[in-house]
Point group: C2
Chain length 123, copies 2
Amino acid sequence: MNYSRQREIILETLTNNAVHPTAEELYSLLEKEYGTASLATLYRNLNLLAANGIIKKIDGLEQSSHYDHNIDEHYHFMCNKCKKVYDVSAAVAPGLIEQAEKELGADIESCDIIFHGTCKDCK
Amino acid sequence: MNYSRQREIILETLTNNAVHPTAEELYSLLEKEYGTASLATLYRNLNLLAANGIIKKIDGLEQSSHYDHNIDEHYHFMCNKCKKVYDVSAAVAPGLIEQAEKELGADIESCDIIFHGTCKDCK
DNA sequence: CTCAGAATTGATAACAATTATCATTTTATA
DNA sequence: TATAAAATGATAATTGTTATCAATTCTGAG
């Protein structure tokens, strides 16, 4: 992976100016901030960054993927009303992977949890 | 929801002849078994059945949704090698929803867990 | 039973999200 | 600084799913 200015901008924007954005949301931000942006380049770099473990792709929230600069083990909650996405700490499910490995006899590499419901502000 | 023969066939096939299929997989099965099938009708009925809590749509496994006739609380594991989908019992994460509710101050209605790794047979 | 209105269907167009293509430009390095 | 690999931008293509709409099928009241 060579250096690239676009990738730097994308990562920086994801890290500092967006929380769990979709590619489209990030694209709008980039356009507004830097004028220059190609959707193809954005997708390519998001995939590259995710493949290299620098960011995390969050699937299962909506039909479009969201992206997270926080790669520490944690989970997500989406409010059915306001559609906001909240982080949930890994502490809510201690020993989860070990339990599942024992049950399946499998090697588990990752585990994603998506909660749905009504958030504190909306209820 | 009126009675419909197509819906009956779809539900029966999902229940008895397919495990966690995608819409496409189910479509092939239906075509083979009954000759008659419309992709639109299939999607419509899968959505209807899921909206009525009769089946469950599983998102986050692949870009296409999978469907499950088993609506008891349980989770899923997908093998990175063979792509097979396994059930994981709810017992691997006792008190998960309560923990997350406490942390967020939210009302949680549902919770989906997707594990990825290498299954017993592939490792 | 039968008729009207609601629900369902099938065929296909449309749509949204994402990826592929490819000629041009940028980056790293010998 | 020349060269090869990597990255880019514009856009076409692909995939999965939903919308449209005329025709068919259900259902319940009369």
